[in-house]
Each structure stands twice: as C-alpha cells, then as structure tokens.
Subunit: 248 residues, 2 copies
Amino acid sequence: MMRIKATVAYDGTNFSGYQSQPNMRTVQSDIDKALRKMHKDDTIHSVASGRTDAGVHAFGQVIHFDTPLSITEESWVTALNVLLPKDIRILTAKQVSDEFHARYSAKGKTYQYRWSRKPIHSPFERNYSVHLGKWNPDIERMKEGAVRLLGTHDFTSFCSAKTATSSKVRTIRSLEINEEGHELVLTIEGDGFLYNMVRTIAGVLYAVGIGWDEPRDVTEILQARDRKRAGKTAPAHGLYLMSVTYDQ
Amino acid sequence: MMRIKATVAYDGTNFSGYQSQPNMRTVQSDIDKALRKMHKDDTIHSVASGRTDAGVHAFGQVIHFDTPLSITEESWVTALNVLLPKDIRILTAKQVSDEFHARYSAKGKTYQYRWSRKPIHSPFERNYSVHLGKWNPDIERMKEGAVRLLGTHDFTSFCSAKTATSSKVRTIRSLEINEEGHELVLTIEGDGFLYNMVRTIAGVLYAVGIGWDEPRDVTEILQARDRKRAGKTAPAHGLYLMSVTYDQ
C-alpha cells in the first residue's frame, strides 16, 4: 500500500459541505466515488485536513488516501480529474510516508474571506463573495480590531456553541485585511480553527468596520468566552480554505 | 406610458437561454416575472436586443419595456434587482423615447469568447471559459485567420443551417484576439450576428490556431457559403454578450 497526499480545489456552491452525509452531494463522497471507480469498486476512504461547510470554497484543501495502485503522481491527477465533476479539481498528488495524515499532521491553515464593494453584485461573483451593498466597512477600524485577535487565546466566543472540542485555545499567526480591486479580503493564518471560527471573526470585524462595534470590543468579546457576544456568523459563500501546511 | 431601456448582466449557466419557453427557466421569463410583480400582476413584456443560447452569458444585454409607473431610473434598478434572482442583475435603467427599440434600433453588438490556458481548469471558472487542456492555439495563426472575416460578407457558412433570416450578409467591424492572463480572448464587433455565428467563428479560429486548418482556409470556408465547411460550433459557456450600441 502507498499513501497519496493530494491538494484539492472546489467550488462549494453546489455541495452540502465537505463531509459525507447520507443522500447528500458532498465533496468527500464525490472524491471517494472517483477513488472507488479507480479501484474496481474497492472502497477507498480519503481523509481531509478538516471539513468545510455548505457553500464554503477551497483553493487548497489537502487529503490523503491509501492505495495498492502503482501509478505516477501525474497520472493520479489526470485520472481523478477525468472521474470527478468539474466543480472539484485535483491540483497535485504526491506519494508520502505512512506517517503523514492530512488532519493530524497539519501544522497550520490559511483561510480567506471575501466581500465585494461593487455597487451591484456581479452575477458572476454572486457565489464567490459577500455583497456589501450600501455598507462601507472602514478597513482601518477592521485592522484595529484584528490585531486584538493575534496570538494564542481561548476562542470560545468565536466558535459555534455546538463545538465539542476539549480545548478552544488556538493561535492566530497572522490576520491581514486588504483591498484587492473591488474586493475587501481578510486573510487569516493559524495553527487550526474551531467550527465556524473564521466566519465568526469575519462577522465581528465587519461589525467593527461599519461602526456597530468598536475595535476595543473585540478584546471584550474574546474575554467573555461566550458565543452570544460575537453577533452574526458571516455567510458561507465568502469563505475559502486557501492552504494547509505540513512539515513534509 | 413611458419606455425604459435597461442594461442587464446575467450568468447563463442555469438558464435555458434568454428567450421565454414553456416550463423552462429563461432570463426573459424571470425579467417579465419581476416586471409583473412591480405592476401588480399586469403583464409587461420586455424586448431584448436579441436572444442568447443556454449557457451563454451577458455583461451588457439591453432590453426595453413600456410602463405606466412613474419612478426614478435609480429606483427601477433597485426594485428590479430586489425581485430578480441573483444570476440576473439590472445594471442601469434610463427613460427613452417611444422610437427606441432594443432590437430594431441596435446599431452594433460586441461579443467575447474566452478560453482558459490553465493546465487544470479552475472549478471557479468551469462555467465561464472553455478549457484548452493540452491544446495550445497559436494566437498569430488565429489573427491571420481572423482578418479574413473583417468587413461585409455573406456569413452562410458561419450560422446554424436552421437560420431562416432573409439576408446572411453581415459586417464585422473589428475582431481582436488577445492573451489576458491565463485566458485567450476573442473580441468581435459587428452590425449584427446570425444564429450561432460567434461560436462558429470561435470554432473555426480555434481549428486554425491548433493547426487543423490553415489561416487561408477561413477565406475558403467563407466563400463556400455552406455551414458544413466550418466544423464544430464552440461551446456556449465561453461566450459573453458584452454590449449593444445605439444612436441614442
């Protein structure tokens, strides 16, 4: 058996999220279906760095799977892309050691959140950014709020109240906010993220940007350790899993 | 009654083309449904500069309709966009004289056709450009073929054999081919286009670009006045109606 690591891009619009669910179209079930076809109906389960919600996109999700097939790395990319629907693309495939695990070996993740400042949201971007409409977030206020999240904190206020993880302590290594053309883009990198954490951070910084909250409120929300203090989770379709980093 | 001219952008992916058809989702039927809601269930029919096929996109389709409502041009944009699905957006609305007709007053149209040179087609671009894959069209050959189409010609070879128009003579005023990042883009402007004409031209120039045909064959195809000589129509999802020009 060989272990293959692959990077995967997908348009989350028409999926009920990443993780397999009965009778739902998910990214994982489509990938596992393609793997099954390549393995003459033997079931091969892929493991991802983590799940993403319905509507969330990925430029660089990472998966691994074990296979008895001995084909080149390039052929894995080509063969899987022939079998996969066009809203999922395998970008790279690489043989790795048995110790590599897409989820447990992950050292960090980068996400982006995108808002559009166009007066009228382009029909071609409707699923790929969140329209600001008449709202005009002040990027300097957002940055002042953002620095308060840098470093290691208990992010209880910033994850779904349903989150069952033992520790809610995470480290945010960088958090940048930039204007890119007509888009306002938040880029966040950390050792890992709790369920709904990036979308909750996006929602809080948006509220600071449009003046509903003050930058200093971000510290108070963090210290409260109470999800109710953080307000609305930003919509799924503005969020992109950009990359996952590993030692190998 | 007032006549309103509006420019409309739409993502053609999820429509069975522009023109209303029974039991199909079309751009026209969605626009007329929104107009009907604004007019308290009175039927208002919009007229477009021309139809587009299933999968074809528009940045600047133009329509007109007549209305007894007296509201500002800005309010037309806002109100229609509230009622329309997000894959159709009204970009501008303007009151015009009764002589203006979206179809009959049109003096010219510009279309673009987009191919992607990325080794792997981005899942985010799958509906918005045609993937070239291993094919690598030579832009200089395509340009050499393109100049042969400039000017006034009988385009019988370049339109669907089903076309019932009395005259198949049209004038192409400009035809440019450019590399834009990873995309190969054909931009064509003329006084009007026959059914499938731009997609047939795209197909012929693509065949010249990849070496299946010679640039001089374009002249022969034109002179043959036979649709069979022009080869495959290029796929719908690479095509965009960019703008329609009028005297007023």
